[in-house]
């Protein structure tokens, strides 16, 4: 036990003495959260839209006011015919137009059902998609409100895609994504690199020749990164809660438990890589290409998995971050409990056991 503690102490000294790396490891999540939260956000703010109002009744006017009042949109122009829409799009200033048909108010009143049309400039499909989503959300808000106000027997329910993110804030998606990325980077890459470094320096030979159990060497190397990751999770959660205003809706304990599970998966992956790699560069390369890229691409954090071809959807299932990403979204943002994410939790546990077993089996008590 004393050997073990002494080893862990040594690892902390390594981290502590290499101030630059330590700063990067601890500062990276902070910077990422801030960059993703503010700069790279795909939030819409004061986008200019055009209105083609055929109705010009009380209901349409109040809907337009509602849109204008929201901080996402600003009415730039009132149009009088369809043709004008295309002309405006071509000018490039306006990306979205709202068309309100005649009898808008009466349709609402009599049938509790009315149609509006959103026309977006889809030359930039992402923006178009976002703008229509935002506009839909505002219209739904309006609809809900008038429904409540009038206490009508019928409510019109249209499917809303951003059900759990009423404000449509980009940060909601990024926080779980950054958590998965940072944990993977710190745990997998750093663990792999430090173990391989001992191999390169020849100290691993001494460790093997010493009475210390080889498995203990490996576990001792992983402990400091577990601690570092705990610090990172805390700083991410604090930042997202108090700076980005992303609430933690579900149980914090559950969230931390799931994060530790994911850390263990990442650490075992790191150990596995270290047993295969002979140089620090190889370890880094495998971690980046083999782990980091799939996490960014296939976890659902950057690109929605539903939109991917079947092959990629299947592949995404073996990316641990995908499961963790789902879990964090569910617990943190939707506020769901373990009952809804037991499947994902089970998958991660399975992955951890699998990787850890393989890693320890592959770890040699001798050289090559």
């Amino acid at each position: 036990m004393k050997q073990f503690l002494s080893f862990i102490k040594k690892e902390f000294l390594h981290i502590w003495r290499d101030k630059r790396t330590m700063f990067i490891l601890l500062g990276m999540p902070v910077v990422q959260i801030i960059i993703f939260g503010f700069a790279l956000t795909n939030e819409v703010k004061n986008s200019k839209i055009a209105i083609l109002d055929y109705a010009k009744d009380a209901a349409s006017t109040s809907l337009i006011t509602e849109l204008d009042a929201s901080r996402y949109f600003e009415i730039d122009k009132n149009l009088y015919s369809y043709d004008e829409i295309e002309a405006e799009f071509k000018k490039g200033k306006i990306k979205l137009a709202l068309v309100i048909p005649q009898q808008f108010a009466s349709d609402l009143q009599h049938f509790n059902k009315a149609q509006v049309q959103l026309i977006a400039d889809a030359s930039d499909p992402n923006t178009a998609n976002q703008l229509t989503n935002y506009a839909t959300a505002v219209i739904m808000d309006y609809q809900k409100r008038i429904t409540n106000d009038r206490k009508l027997p019928y409510t019109i329910n249209t499917e809303i895609r951003n059900l759990y993110n009423p404000q449509l804030k980009g940060a909601y998606n990024f926080v779980p994504g950054v958590m998965a990325m940072v944990l993977l980077l710190v745990c997998t890459m750093m663990t792999a690199i430090t173990i391989v470094k001992e191999k390169e320096m020849g100290t691993m030979e001494i460790m093997l020749v010493s009475p210390m159990k080889p498995q203990m060497v490996v576990i001792a190397k992983a402990v400091p990164y577990l601690v570092l990751s705990a610090v990172n999770i805390s700083s991410i959660l604090l930042l997202s809660r108090f700076v980005l205003d992303v609430p933690i809706n579900g149980s914090l304990v559950l969230l931390l438990f799931e994060s530790i599970l994911f850390i263990l998966v990442s650490l075992s992956l790191g150990l596995l890589i270290s047993s295969a790699a002979a140089s620090q560069q190889t370890a880094m390369f495998i971690s980046l290409v083999g782990m980091f890229l799939p996490t960014v691409m296939l976890s659902g954090f950057m690109f929605p998995i539903e939109n991917m071809p079947l092959a990629l959807r299947i592949v995404s299932n073996i990316v641990p971050a995908k499961w963790y990403f789902t879990i964090v979204k569910s617990v943190m943002i939707k506020g769901i409990g373990l009952h809804a994410i037991w499947k994902e939790t089970l998958v991660l546990t399975g992955m951890m056991l699998f990787f850890l077993t393989v890693a320890i089996k592959k770890f040699k008590i001798r050289l090559a």
Partner: protein
């Protein structure tokens, strides 16, 4: 009982076992002997040391260290050997004392417990104990590494090329330290590519491309050299070398320090030798009969 016993060890590498590192190696090391494995890079020294320190498995053959089998009893051996690998560098970002403390704990001991053993060596670097290992000079690093390998009072110490890349002064000091350690009863196996270090060992095994050329005391190896050996010198050494190479009487000639060493097939008198050297090289030539040293023996063994 022998401290180390190696019996018909064969080790190959590669998928088809196409690279042979050790071909049927056998030797024995007595307790508290300073035993040198002398040979150039690629002779198989490191493979041999790794097999004996239980880090590698041999293809065939067996070996014991301190009476324990290197395969079966590897845990027992790991408790009682000290090992300094060739490319071993300490933790550069830890101080001298932190390094030593760490290795002490890893081997279940403390600096205090075995201080008397490393005192001689450690005292020389103790004034710098707060300095990072990365900031030490080559000689000091080596002393620290030796202290770390000794901290658990091993019964057998394996030093793989401890003096490679180290300058002549530090090398000399290092060998003096080894001599004192041996007096404390520690068996030491040391490998080196420097032939001149052979003379500092009790016994040596000369090794080349995985084969042992000869095992003996340094004196014994020299005594085994039976051919007539002369040192020759002239103002134009290259010409002398090329001329003499062509003579029938000459078995071998090679540069050796300021002289060329001339190996003859048959004994001849000095005057006779001087005579026929002068025929081909009229310049002033010095001729002296010399006693071979380990390097002459190694060259002769290699060429046979």
């Amino acid at each position: 009982m022998n401290a180390v016993r190696v019996n018909s060890i064969i080790k190959t590498y590669g998928k088809k076992k196409e690279i042979t590192a050790l071909q049927d190696i056998s030797f024995e090391v007595k307790p508290s002997e300073l035993y040198g494995i002398i040979g150039p890079d690629g002779a198989g020294k490191t493979s041999l040391f790794r097999i004996l320190t239980t880090l590698l498995l041999a293809d065939s053959g067996n070996a014991t260290v301190d009476g324990f089998d290197v395969v079966k009893d590897y845990k027992e051996i790991r408790k009682r050997v000290g090992y300094m690998p060739g490319k071993f560098s300490l933790y550069q970002d830890l101080s001298v004392e932190e390094n030593l403390n760490f290795f002490a704990t890893i081997f279940n001991t403390t600096i205090r417990e075995n201080y008397d053993l490393i005192k001689d060596i450690y005292q020389q670097i103790e004034p710098f104990k707060d300095r990072k290992a990365g900031k030490l000079s080559g000689g000091m690093k080596q002393k620290l590494a030796l202290s770390c390998a000794l901290i658990h009072r091993p019964s057998v110490l394996f030093l793989d090329e401890p003096t490679t890349g180290v300058d002549a002064v530090s090398r000399k000091e290092f060998w003096e330290m080894l001599k004192r350690l041996k007096e404390q009863g520690i068996t030491i196996l040391v490998s080196t590519p420097y032939m001149d270090e052979a003379g500092l060992c009790d016994r040596v095994a000369l090794i080349q491309t995985g084969k042992i050329l000869s095992i003996n005391t340094p004196q014994g190896i020299v005594d085994d050299y039976k051919k007539p050996l002369w040192a020759v010198k002239s103002p134009n050494m290259l010409q002398l070398l090329n001329e003499l190479k062509e003579r029938n009487e000459v078995e071998d000639i090679y540069p050796f320090g300021e002289y060329h060493h001339l190996v003859l097939k048959n004994n001849i008198k000095r005057e006779e030798l001087e005579q026929w050297i002068k025929q081909s090289t009229p310049e002033a030539v010095t001729v002296e009969a010399v006693r071979p040293d380990i390097e002459d023996c190694f060259i002769s063994l290699m060429k046979n």
